[in-house]
């Protein structure tokens, strides 16, 4: 509104100069009246030039202040969610939309299941999906993880058969087939060898390098301290997470999935109790309604549903808490919370014109530091997970630049001497959907909530597994059990039995 005031003061200045003010009106100039001006030509010119820019500023301000001008590239139908849905998916990240797609894909009849995806933030400003590094690899130690990634790679290979929509541009994931390169020190080389055997046995195309072979393949690496390296030949690299998320969403919506912008804030449930083998009484809950709060209002809409899928990423522990999981009062079965919490991770964008070239893989050093190429202009992204004791505060997504200077950079420069000189051009932070129990996905029904399925806790590899995880959850729901990959080892039982499924990491 300052501009408006300025305009008014210009008008009063006109009065002072004895220029009839009616000749200057807001936003339009009476050209006919102009001719009778007496000021010199150049002064007149300046005056109107100034006025025009003032008006422009004013217009911009007014537009920004208008209600509802919060311009959004994705035009969504506003409004309330449907009152009834068969399956409500909490969280519209890549996992949520993948499940929605697969549910529709597997339904036998058109509109046999009514699927609703509830997402609280249509800009995805905090979702892990769009803040991730976008990598996919098969170099895991658990067979389940390897198979999930291979199935997802297969999905991405044929992505347009899955996610292509008639009359739309084909999906282009911008997949970079550059592979992952893991480096192992003397202490962990034997683990790498075992992992390699497992990976080969399930069909992943991985190869091992000795330090000298490594130097020959990637002359820019310093092999100091490296005893063994493993490199993925196929199906490994990185891609654009946004494209995958949007493609899933576009396809799922074209197949009839409902989307609703709102936050799930609670559940209405009924309860009955069951007895454990030891004779303890445990309450079993069943969700009847999901409460969805509309954005920017206090309005709630209860959605009646048969099943709920918790795919809220880093927030899924909190969503589980809403139904009272993990808040029991005595030391019992019901007390064990869903062990998923947000953990902040930084990614730094580096510029280094003399850095490694097109052959740069997604490199993961045994020290924990990782980097990959970004585009062709000498840009890289790098990061590292902090020590358990030094986990940063998760209340916001601010970046700690000292962490790069003190922890990441020395390790990077040690591995790639060209990185001795670089500049950090930008950085961002995102939340891992961190599974504090064993850092792997938690899939399937919760034992104490008879109709809530989970697909969460992927801790840094959820993006690459999302296509296969979506299929797995759809199989659980619609077929009653896993059909393609047996993932029963990733269910809740391991948490209650305290038998972690740990990745044998070399980092």
């Amino acid at each position: 509104m300052a501009a408006r005031q300025k305009l008014l003061s210009t008008v009063s200045a006109c009065r002072a100069l004895n220029i009839p003010s009616r000749r200057v009106c807001h936003g339009c100039i009476n050209t006919h009246a102009l001719r009778s001006f007496t000021t010199s030509k150049s002064a007149r010119h300046d005056f109107f030039k100034d006025l025009e820019s003032q008006i422009k500023v004013f217009r911009e301000k007014a537009a920004a202040a208008m209600p509802g001008s919060d311009w959004n590239p994705i035009d969504l139908t506003p409004g309330l969610p449907p009152e009834r849905a068969d399956i409500v998916i909490v969280g519209g990240g890549v996992v949520g939309w993948s499940i929605a797609y697969w549910l529709k894909r597997k339904e036998r009849m058109r509109d046999a299941v009514r699927v609703l995806v509830v997402e609280k933030d249509p800009t995805y400003s905090q979702a892990s999906t769009v803040l991730s590094a976008g990598g996919i690899r098969q170099q895991f130690s658990l067979q389940e993880n390897i198979l999930l990634s291979m199935a997802s790679a297969d999905f991405m290979r044929n992505i347009n058969e899955h996610l292509g929509v008639v009359n739309e541009d084909p999906v282009d994931l911008q997949f970079n087939h550059s592979g992952y390169l893991f480096l192992a020190s003397e202490d962990v080389a034997h683990i790498m060898e075992e992992n390699y055997e497992t990976q080969r046995s399930v069909g992943a195309k991985v190869t091992l390098f000795s330090p000298s072979q490594l130097k020959e393949r990637f002359p820019w690496i310093s092999t100091d301290g490296v005893a063994l390296a493993s490199y993925g030949l196929e199906n490994e690299g990185w891609f654009d997470p946004w494209t995958l998320l949007n493609a899933f969403r576009r396809k799922a919506m074209s197949m009839g999935v409902y989307q609703c912008i709102g936050e799930v804030t609670g559940f209405k449930y009924s309860m009955h109790s069951a007895r454990t083998m030891d004779g303890d009484k445990v309450p079993i809950k069943r969700i009847n309604r999901v409460n969805v709060r509309m954005p920017n209002s206090l309005e709630y809409q209860p959605v009646e549903c048969a099943l709920v899928v918790n795919a809220a990423g880093a927030n899924s522990g909190k969503v589980a808490g809403m139904i009272g999981v993990g808040t029991g009062h005595n030391q019992s079965f019901a007390d064990i919370p869903v062990p998923v919490e947000p953990r902040k991770r930084y990614i730094y964008v580096l510029h280094c014109p003399d850095g490694p070239g097109l052959d740069t893989p997604f490199l993961i050093d045994y020290s924990g530091v990782y980097f990959r190429r970004e585009g062709l202009g000498g840009n890289y992204i790098a990061g590292m997970s902090p020590e358990e004791a030094e986990e940063p505060d998760t209340s916001n997504l601010e970046v700690d630049h000292d962490f790069f200077q003190e922890k990441v950079w020395p390790l990077l420069a040690h591995r790639v001497p060209a990185f001795e000189s670089l500049k950090v051009s930008s950085a961002w932070a995102g939340y891992y959907d961190y599974n504090t129990f064993d850092q792997n996905g938690i899939l399937g029904l919760h034992p104490l909530v008879s109709n809530m399925y989970f697909a969460t806790g992927f801790s840094g590899h959820g993006l690459q597994q999302s296509p296969a995880v979506g299929r797995a959850i759809a199989e659980l729901i619609l077929d009653g059990g896993y059909q393609t990959i047996d993932l029963s080892a990733l269910d809740f039982r391991r948490i209650y039995c305290q038998e972690p499924m740990l990745e044998r990491n070399i980092v």
Partner: protein
């Protein structure tokens, strides 16, 4: 057909209006406008289930054709050996090949017919393959991976050759010396990066790849990545000024040059 169309209930589901709105917000590249017929069909597609099925069926048929052309010849392989299966696959795609130690090429005639003389050499492996202009894709490559002595491969102008195809070429890493990828409409730099696994490569043709955004720069990067290989491609200066889209970041820090 028309009658049944009229009997169809016109769709009025909210979902479809959602999709239409969604599209406007997201489509980025204005593709060449489709023909009148296609546009008419698409209009109908939005309103009638029949037409939707028809169009879906057409797309399915197209991918089915490519899939059928690229099936794995497991039966042939079992009964006649890997070499014969590979040779038969190449000829049925209307490609041509040369066995190691022979000088003449086997190729089908203009009508796609070929003689079965190649059956006489079940122990010869294939050294050179020319599959230019054929519908080969990454699945069809399964029929060729057994040819560990392959030295030259041309997939010039193949519409189905994509980055995933290139990422599988590592199986020929120990032998492949010559590779012609020119005029392939789907190849991008993301797939060319996988050629680093072809350590024996001496000649590479990457000219006229329409999806390469800065072909000159990619040419330089390829030469740097494969120092022993002669790369034929765009002029260095072509598209050197690149338009790398900056990464979206939460907090953008002022760039500062630092040296340790």
């Amino acid at each position: 057909m028309a009658a049944s169309m009229l009997c169809q209930t016109v769709r009025q589901s909210r979902v479809h209006t959602c999709v239409a709105v969604f599209r406007r917000g997201l489509s980025s590249s204005p593709a060449s406008p489709p023909s009148l017929l296609t546009r008419f069909l698409l209009k109908l597609h939005q309103h009638f289930y029949d037409v939707e099925h028809l169009i879906g069926w057409r797309a399915k048929h197209r991918s089915w054709f490519v899939r059928r052309k690229n099936v794995f010849y497991g039966y042939t392989q079992q009964n006649y050996g890997e070499n014969i299966a590979a040779a038969y696959y190449i000829l049925s795609l209307k490609g041509s090949f040369r066995f190691a130690g022979q000088s003449e090429w086997f190729r089908p005639n203009a009508r796609g017919k070929f003689s079965y003389d190649f059956m006489n050499y079940p122990t010869s492996s294939i050294e050179e393959i020319d599959l230019s202009g054929t519908p080969i894709n990454h699945v069809g490559l399964d029929n060729l991976v057994s040819q560990k002595g392959l030295r030259s491969l041309s997939v010039r102008g193949c519409p189905e050759v994509d980055d995933w195809f290139l990422s599988r070429l590592h199986v020929f890493g120990e032998s492949l010396e010559e590779l012609d990828l020119s005029h392939c409409p789907q190849i991008t730099v993301g797939g060319l990066a996988a050629l680093q696994n072809l350590r024996m490569l001496r000649h590479l043709d990457v000219s006229s790849l329409p999806r390469l955004q800065s072909p000159g720069l990619v040419h330089i990067l390829l030469e740097e990545m494969l120092p022993r290989c002669h790369v034929k491609g765009a002029e260095y200066s072509q598209g050197l000024i690149q338009s790398d889209i900056p990464i979206q970041t939460e907090s953008v820090q002022e760039p500062v040059t630092e040296t340790r």
